[in-house]
Symmetry: C2
C-alpha cells in the first residue's frame, strides 16, 4: 500500500503479508480513510489465509480467527472496517468445509470484489454529487476523502473529480486538517495531480472564507453515519458544518452504504478514537510545544444530522437524512 | 525583546537599536500581540530619537519622521500600533522646540509610561474579568493574549492569571492556533510557567470540546475593535465565537481601550493582513505541502458584535457591546 504518512514529500509503498502487518499499517495510518481501511482489512484477512493455508486445520481456523480479531482492534471509529470483516467472515463461513487453499482463494477473490465495488460505488456517488454543484463552484473540503481514502476516485473528492470530468470549472479549498495534515498533504496533492485548482488554508480559516463569500458548498466524507443521519468524520468537520449552516452554504456528506451503521440510533453511540499526544505536539518527529504539556487528541467528531444538507450515496442523494430515509436506502428484501 | 518565534524550544533575546530594527521585528513576529506591538512601536520611536539626537536639526526631524513611517508600515491590523505612534507624536509635538537630547529623553519616558500603563491596565482587566469566571471554570482561549502579547500579565490570560491568584481553580484549554502556533508554543508555555493547568488541542477540536460539555467560557484578546463592537482577532477566533454561541457558552473579549478604534463604524473597515505563504506550508522551515500549491493566509478575522457576550476593558465589563456602550467608556471631557 502507498505510505500516506510520508506523502507528498515521498511516494513509498509498504508491503504487507499478514493480518498483523495490515492491522499495524491501519493503526499507524499508513492507510487511512474509512473505505480504504475496509478494503485494507479485507486484504488483511485474505493475506492471512494465504499465509496460513498449509497449516493443520485446527491452527488455520484459530489463527485466521486471531487475524480477524487483530484487524478489528486496529481502529475503532470507521465502520467500514467492521463491515468488511463481516463480509469476509460470511465468505469464510460459506466455504469453511473446503480445502484451505480454496478458502484462501475465495477470501482473496472477495477482497478483490470489495475493492472493485468501492471504485464503482465512488463513481456513482461522484455522478450523483456532481449534479449538485453549479459551474465554477468553490468547494471547501476537510481532511481527505479522495482516491487515497478509498479504493480509487474518492467519495468527497470523487464528486469533485466527476464534476471536473463533466466540464464544470470546480475549484477546491482544502482545510489543512491538523494534526495529521491530510488536507495539506493528501487532498492538495491529489487535486494537483488532476490539475483541479486547489487552495490550501489552515482549519482556522474556513470561517473567514465563508464570511467573505468565497465558499459555495462543503463536501466531506464520513467514517460512520448513525441511523438517524448523525455523521462521524475527521475532527473539525463539526465546526465546518456549524459555520456552513450560519452562512447558508450546503453541507454535503459523501458516503457509501458501507459507512452507514443502522445498528446505532444516534451519533452518541459512535466510538471516538483518541490518538497519541505526539501527533498534536508537532509533526513528523519535530515538536514545538513545551515539555510535558497535557494534550487531547480526539480523531473524529460527530456532526448532528440537522446540519447535514444531504448524504450522497450510491443509491442517490438523501436530503435531510433521518432514520426513515436512511432505512429506505436498502431494498426491502435485504432489510 | 524576547524572540517569540523560537519559544518554547529556545528562550532568546533580540536587541533593537532603531525604528527600522523594531519595525522589522514587528513585521517578522519576533514580538506580536496588539498591546505588545504598541509598546514596541513606542520604544522604536524612542530608540530612533536617541540614535539621531546629535544629528543636525533638519535631519533629526526628517529621519525621526521616517522612523514613524516605517513603524506604521510594519503591520496593518492591530490598532494599538497606530495608537502608540500617535501618542509618541503628541509628545514630540509638545517638546519639538527643545534640544534633541531632551526630546529623546521625553520620548523614552513616554515609552516607559506606555509600558507601565499597559501592565496596570491588564491588572485591572484581570480583576474585572476574574469576577466573571466561576470556580473550576474550564476556559478556552485562542492564540496568545498573555504576558508575551502585552507589557506583562496579559489581557485574556491576565484574566486567567487574576482568577488563579484569587484562588479560583481555573483550567485552560489552548487552541494551538495555526499557522504561527501561538497557542501551542506561547499560551501553553505561559500557563505552565505559572502552574495553571493547561490542555492543548488543535484548532479543529474546539467544537468537539464544547459539544462534550468541556468548556465553560471562552476568553480571547483583540487586535482591533470597531465602534460597533465588531472584533478583529487572530484567524480562527470567529469560528470559536460561532461555536460558543451554538453551545450557549459565554464569549468574552479582553481588550484595553487602546484596542478600540472609534473611527471605524464596523469591522468591515478593519484592514486584514495577509501573511506569507511559507507560514501555511509548514512550520519553521519544514514544509509538508506539495510543491507549488496555492495558499491563503489571512492573519485575522472579524467576529461580529452580536456574538460577543462582553468586552472586558480597564473601565469595566461592556455586555452586548454597541456604539453607544463603547462611546460611554470615554469620559465626556475627552470625547
Amino acid at each position: 500500500m502507498i505510505d500516506q504518512r510520508v506523502l507528498p514529500v515521498s511516494f513509498e509503498y509498504l508491503a504487507c503479508d499478514s493480518a498483523a502487518s495490515v492491522a499495524q499499517a491501519i493503526h499507524d495510518m499508513v492507510v487511512r480513510g474509512a473505505p480504504a481501511i475496509g478494503v485494507a482489512a479485507a486484504y488483511g484477512v485474505a493475506l492471512e489465509a494465504m499465509r496460513l493455508h498449509d497449516m493443520p486445520t485446527e491452527n488455520f481456523s484459530k489463527d485466521l480467527e486471531s487475524g480477524f480479531t487483530i484487524l478489528a482492534q486496529s481502529r475503532p471509529t470507521a465502520v467500514n472496517l467492521f463491515w468488511a470483516l463481516e463480509r469476509m467472515r460470511r465468505v469464510w463461513s460459506s466455504v469453511v468445509k473446503q480445502e484451505q487453499a480454496f478458502v484462501a482463494q475465495h477470501l482473496l477473490a472477495e477482497a478483490h470484489e470489495i475493492l472493485a465495488e468501492d471504485i464503482r460505488i465512488n463513481r456513482i456517488i461522484g455522478e450523483y454529487g456532481a449534479a449538485l454543484l453549479p459551474d465554477e463552484a468553490r468547494v471547501l473540503t476537510h481532511c481527505n476523502a479522495g482516491a487515497l481514502a478509498t479504493a480509487g476516485h474518492g467519495t468527497a473528492l470523487g464528486i469533485i473529480r466527476s464534476a471536473h470530468e463533466a466540464g464544470k470549472r470546480i475549484s477546491v479549498i482544502a482545510d489543512e486538517t491538523r494534526p495529521f495534515l491530510q488536507g495539506a498533504r493528501l487532498t492538495a496533492w491529489e487535486m494537483m495531480q488532476e490539475r483541479i485548482p486547489v487552495t490550501l488554508i489552515t482549519d482556522s480559516m474556513a470561517g473567514f472564507m465563508m464570511s467573505h463569500g468565497e465558499i459555495d458548498a462543503v463536501i466531506v466524507g464520513a467514517d460512520r453515519v448513525a441511523s438517524n443521519g448523525d455523521v462521524a468524520n475527521k475532527i473539525g468537520t463539526y465546526m465546518v458544518a456549524v459555520l456552513a449552516r450560519r452562512h447558508n452554504i450546503p453541507f454535503y456528506v459523501a458516503c457509501p452504504l458501507s459507512t452507514i451503521d443502522m445498528t446505532l440510533p444516534t451519533g452518541d453511540g459512535i466510538p471516538i478514537e483518541e490518538r497519541p499526544d505526539s501527533e498534536v505536539k508537532g509533526y513528523n518527529g519535530m515538536h514545538w510545544v513545551p515539555e510535558g504539556v497535557a494534550i487531547r487528541n480526539p480523531a473524529f467528531d460527530v456532526t448532528p444530522a440537522e446540519l447535514v444538507t444531504a448524504l450522497v450515496t450510491e443509491r442517490g442523494v438523501v436530503y435531510q437524512p433521518d432514520k426513515k430515509r436512511l432505512h429506505a436506502l436498502w431494498p426491502s428484501t435485504l432489510r
